[in-house]
């Protein structure tokens, strides 16, 4: 049985020399086929072959990457569905681009573990495995529901319940109008009325989503790297942040010495400082691990603190690195204000939109400013207090995102003068999805979640 096509990057991000985007499902060949250009089309190649070609963006015909595409037709595949694996040369941007292209052309992002779940549901399992799997589901569900009910107590639950209630009120009104059209007991639910309520709920959902992002940062720390040429003051900055904020220094088990992480608390925001060992051992991180490696550290970080010296002009290496992180969260720190100015700040401002902070770390000047900038970048200046109402569970967040898109559809339809009972369809969906967040309505997606959270089967 072939299901809708799913796609994901199936190699660890940023690690290996090659990366693979894997598609599985009924349209896997069709979707990959739209993107692939080779001697033969993917439809023509034999099953279980690997084929040299290029991935192009069909909208622009631009060549994205040189690839090898492995084609495996059902049923002799891992999932027993059609599978296409697109092998390319590492590089997070390229591989992401290819993934996005598959999503744009009809695939759905695979949930973690979904390939395995499909393998399992399509019959690749024996009795002893099945029993193990069943017990596992039971124990994990009981465990997860304990955790979930712990998370779901108190304000958040009440909050979502009140959102559901507002939707339910309008739903009920629309339904009564439909089922009892002649009764004047109930005010006619108009599209305007529905829109007004829907807009309110949407705003609230968006607020929740925003705070959930903050919640994750609060919980896991904001992964941060400090980058710059030798002797610009990176280790001073690190030491200052650590001393000033009484850092908790953790050695992450099993990591190599050069990717130690340290946590510091800046204005209530936990920063997870990556690659600190590199900075400690030698100030010369770029030299030590090479531009390539730095670039990688940069793309993985959520916050980049790029340190320049006021005393040195901008080099081509600086510009190369800064160019490559144009779309990231970067704060440029111009350090050593106490020395003569050799840096062309105007040029920097012209070239980039990054916020710029001027410091003299050794004198402790400008660091407060830096801390404010960080808060601004991630919380719009407002740092939520530790006990704030936020969603922390990925399943909850994804349900909330789906609620948001369902209610947006409802609002869009209402603006297009679609009949109210049809607008209602998306509103019902929003209500059901919100119900799932607090465990009140369930559907097949919950099973999906189970399989994605726990690696079952093979």
């Amino acid at each position: 049985m072939q299901l809708e096509t799913i796609s994901s990057i199936s190699t660890p991000v940023g690690e290996g020399a090659i990366a693979i985007v894997r598609l599985s499902g009924i349209d896997a060949l069709e979707i990959a086929g739209k993107l692939y250009r080779g001697k033969k089309t993917l439809d023509e190649v034999d099953t279980h072959t690997i084929n040299y070609g290029h991935i192009i963006d069909p909208d622009t015909d631009e060549v994205v990457e040189e690839v090898m595409a492995a084609v495996m037709r059902a049923p002799k595949t891992y999932t027993r569905e059609d599978i296409v694996e697109i092998n390319c040369h590492g590089g997070i941007n390229t591989i992401n681009r290819i993934l996005q292209l598959t999503l744009k052309h009809g695939a759905r992002m695979a949930e973690p573990g979904e390939f395995t779940k499909r393998a399992f549901l399509n019959g690749r399992i024996d009795l002893s495995q099945a029993e193990g799997v069943m017990d596992f589901i039971r124990s994990k569900t009981d465990e997860a529901s304990k955790v979930a009910s712990g998370q779901m107590q108190g304000r958040l639950k009440v909050y979502i319940e009140s959102l559901r209630q507002s939707i339910l009120n309008i739903l009920a009104q629309v339904e009564v109008n439909i089922d009892y059209p002649e009764y004047d007991d109930v005010e006619e639910a108009t599209t305007e009325l529905l829109l007004e309520e829907a807009e309110k709920v949407k705003t609230e959902i968006e607020k929740l989503l925003k705070s959930s992002r903050q919640g994750r940062i609060m919980r896991e720390g904001l992964s941060t790297v400090i980058v710059g040429k030798p002797n610009v003051g990176k280790s001073s900055l690190l030491n200052y942040l650590i001393q000033d904020n009484k850092a908790i220094v953790t050695e992450v088990a099993g990591t190599t010495r050069d990717i130690l992480e340290e946590y510091v608390n800046v204005n209530g925001i936990p920063l997870k400082l990556v690659d600190t060992a590199g900075i400690r051992d030698t100030d010369d991180i770029v030299e030590k691990i090479g531009v390539e490696r730095s670039r990688q550290a940069l793309t993985e970080a959520e916050l980049i603190l790029y340190v320049l010296s006021n005393n040195e002009p901008l080099t081509s290496e600086d510009m190369e690195l800064l160019d490559s992180v144009r779309d990231e969260n970067v704060i440029v720190i111009i350090n050593k204000l106490d020395l003569d100015s050799e840096l062309d700040v105007a040029e920097l401002e012209n070239r980039y939109d990054f916020p710029i902070v001027k410091t003299s770390i050794t004198e402790g000047k400008g660091v407060d400013d830096l801390e404010d900038r960080i808060a601004e970048l991630f919380f719009g200046g407002q740092v939520s207090s530790a006990d704030s109402t936020y969603l922390s569970n990925n399943r909850h967040i994804s349900l909330l995102e789906q609620s948001n898109s369902a209610i947006s559809d409802a609002i869009e339809s209402a603006h297009m003068d679609v009949p109210i009972d049809i607008v209602q369809i998306d509103l019902v969906k929003t209500w059901e999805l919100l119900g799932e967040v607090i465990g009140e309505d369930v559907s097949e997606q919950l099973i999906d979640q189970l399989f994605s959270q726990f690696c079952l089967g093979k």
Partner: protein
């Protein structure tokens, strides 16, 4: 006495019974329909109307499957209206005011003409059962009728009790004889029984109504019909009238509440929330200054008028007082008093989706005995039970309509999967795919099924196929014609209030615009209309709501995938240790036939579904020993 032999015996001749009996006999099976009183075939003991939201769609579904309710309504009604015309196509609903007497006569005459069907007056007191299998029935005078299959459609007759003020007495609806012995036997067989209640308002003489104090509620002045086959339309219609309760009505009710069985402490069955008595409405919504009262003629040949909205079980003299407090009814002469009736119903989770009982083989039940209310719900179950009783005898596949096929499918699935703790009424909101279950496409959804089950004639099937082809061919044609933005085109669009075209556009895409209809497209193309109105309406709806329909279809697809994962009927749930206890108990009771149905049982959570999936997937399923 020699026993008579039949293939199918139907107990009861109400709206479920007649459809069941007709379906079985039309499939060539020798069928007997037994009814306590032959004059009450297809009787409407409550409101004189058929259809309305959701229900009206069921009537069309019964028609597409080859039943009679739609055709008889079309022939005998006094008024028809399309409701919800201001809303989307999915919730539009046709409703007829029926002529009760003509309806009965017409239905009886149809039954009389059916060659394989015998209708007989008689009360069934006993089911003949051997080894958990039904073999026939025995009447109260001791006559035995052998049967391969028996369908019980006893409505509210099973241990019926009428409640009127402080009075409570054994009776069927409308003071008919109740069915007691059969009710006792069904209990003794070990079926789980619930006690339900429903009510009806008083009737008054039309001549005694002052209509000048009421608002007229006419029927539509365009031809309307339920059946896709109807070609003769009744245009000479009778109006209904609208009035309201007054302050005084509420005072009378409040003063007499102690006489109402509901508030006097008398033990009562569960009544429907959606159809409360007037005393219930006044107690629960005491801030409402007035309630609507619709005055509905019961037919052309009678002066009786049904006082809709005044359902009550208060004593007769209080009812008279209440009537006189309502504008227009000050001098109304009451002809029948309202009353509440309690009756036995089966917990419907004891049924398979075919409506056969799990406990007794070849025994089917349909209609109010399954916990529903409403003539339409009864008819929908009746035709399904009739087809399935016959199919089982004939060795044919059972008919199980899914939730995406029909409102009848939603109805039956709700009943057998979730059960009901009040008389069940269909509502459009019960259908998760209501955009697919429209009144305009019931024939598209179900005529094939009716034909496969032998209830649609070749002739009718040909007509249907022509309609379907015409629609499909025209949609295909419009999807290939490119309309140019010339002067003629722009002027037609402008006339309809649309914005002019910038470029050429496919005719079908132009039709998607809200302001455009099929006729405008033809005008642009300078063509004469070749299709019937029903055909081009179908094209308009399918085109305009295409995006939303596709969205629904994706949902349906997901459900159908889960429906394909079958659960063996005799699976031993006790052998699946990881199931939660509540889920195990529910699964053992409902015995779902597939994973989709299992997932709809309340108390069976997704983890249990995953466990069940894994258990079935591994192939070695333990069975319960017979």
């Amino acid at each position: 006495m020699n026993a008579q032999n039949y293939d199918v015996v139907v107990i009861g001749a109400g709206h479920a019974g007649v459809e069941a009996g007709l379906a079985a006999s039309r499939k060539g099976l020798k069928t007997l329909m037994l009814t306590i009183n032959l004059d009450n075939i297809a009787f409407m003991p409550c409101n004189p109307s058929v259809g309305g939201p959701a229900k009206g769609i069921v009537v069309r579904e019964v028609d597409a499957l080859g039943g009679e309710m739609a055709k008889v309504t079309d022939k005998t009604h006094i008024q028809m209206r399309m409701l919800n015309t201001g809303k989307g196509p999915a919730v539009r609903a046709l409703r007829a005011q029926s002529d009760k007497v003509l309806y009965q006569q017409e239905m009886k005459s149809i039954l009389e003409q059916e060659e394989n069907l015998d209708i007989l007056q008689g009360m069934v007191d006993e089911l003949i059962i051997e080894d958990n299998e039904v073999k026939g029935v025995k009447t109260n005078i001791g006559v035995v009728y052998n049967a391969k299959s028996v369908i019980i459609t006893t409505g509210t007759f099973l241990r019926g009790e009428i409640v009127l003020g402080p009075l409570k007495y054994s009776s069927g609806p409308n003071h008919q004889m109740p069915s007691i012995a059969l009710a006792d036997q069904i209990r003794d067989l070990g079926f789980d029984i619930v006690r339900f209640k429903t009510g009806t308002p008083p009737r008054v003489n039309s001549d005694s109504i002052d209509y000048s104090k009421t608002e007229i509620q006419p029927g539509d002045d365009v031809p309307r019909a339920f059946s896709y086959e109807t070609t003769d339309f009744i245009m000479d219609q009778l109006p209904c009238w609208l009035t309201y309760t007054s302050n005084h009505t509420h005072e009378i009710i409040n003063e007499n509440l102690h006489l109402s069985p509901m508030y006097s402490g008398m033990k009562m069955g569960t009544g429907p929330r959606y159809c409360p008595s007037i005393e219930d409405k006044i107690v629960r919504f005491n801030d409402k200054p007035r309630h609507q009262i619709f005055l509905e003629p019961e037919g052309r040949g009678t002066k009786e008028v049904y006082v809709q909205g005044l359902s009550t079980s208060l004593p007769e003299d209080v009812q008279r007082e209440m009537l006189s407090s309502i504008p227009g009814l000050e001098n109304a002469r009451m002809m029948r008093a309202g009353y509440a009736i309690e009756y036995d119903a089966l917990d419907p989770t004891q049924l398979w989706p075919t409506l056969e009982t799990k406990k007794i083989e070849n025994l089917f039940t349909a209609g109010q005995i399954n916990g529903t209310s409403g003539y339409e719900e009864a008819a929908g179950q009746g035709i399904v039970a009739g087809i399935n009783a016959a199919n089982k005898i004939l060795g044919m596949e059972p008919l199980i309509l899914s939730r995406a096929d029909a409102y009848i499918g939603v109805l039956i699935d709700d009943l057998i999967t979730k059960g009901t703790n009040e008389p069940y009424r269909l509502l459009t909101s019960r259908a998760e795919h209501r955009l697919l279950l429209r009144h305009d496409n019931a024939d598209m959804r179900l005529t094939d099924i009716g034909y496969e089950n032998g209830l649609i004639s070749e002739e009718r099937y040909d007509r249907f196929n022509r309609k379907r082809d015409n629609v499909n061919v025209e949609i295909d044609r419009l999807s290939k014609i490119r309309i140019k933005p010339n002067e003629h085109t722009q002027s037609v669009i402008k006339e309809r209030g649309g914005t002019p075209l910038k470029d050429g556009i496919l005719a079908l895409d132009l039709l998607r615009r809200p302001e455009m209809d099929y006729m405008s497209i033809l005008e642009i193309l300078d063509e004469e209309v070749q299709l019937s109105k029903l055909e081009y309406e179908q094209i308009e709806i399918q085109t305009k709501y295409d995006g939303y329909i596709k969205k629904s279809l994706i949902q349906v697809d997901k459900m159908r995938r889960m429906e394909k994962k079958k659960i063996p009927e005799d699976i031993d749930y006790d052998a699946i240790h990881s199931l939660a206890t509540e889920a195990r108990d529910k699964l053992k009771k409902v015995k779902p036939l597939d994973i989709a149905q299992a997932s709809r049982i309340s108390g069976v959570n997704p983890a249990d579904i995953s466990i069940l999936l894994v258990y079935i997937e591994q192939g070695n399923v333990k069975r319960v020993e017979a």
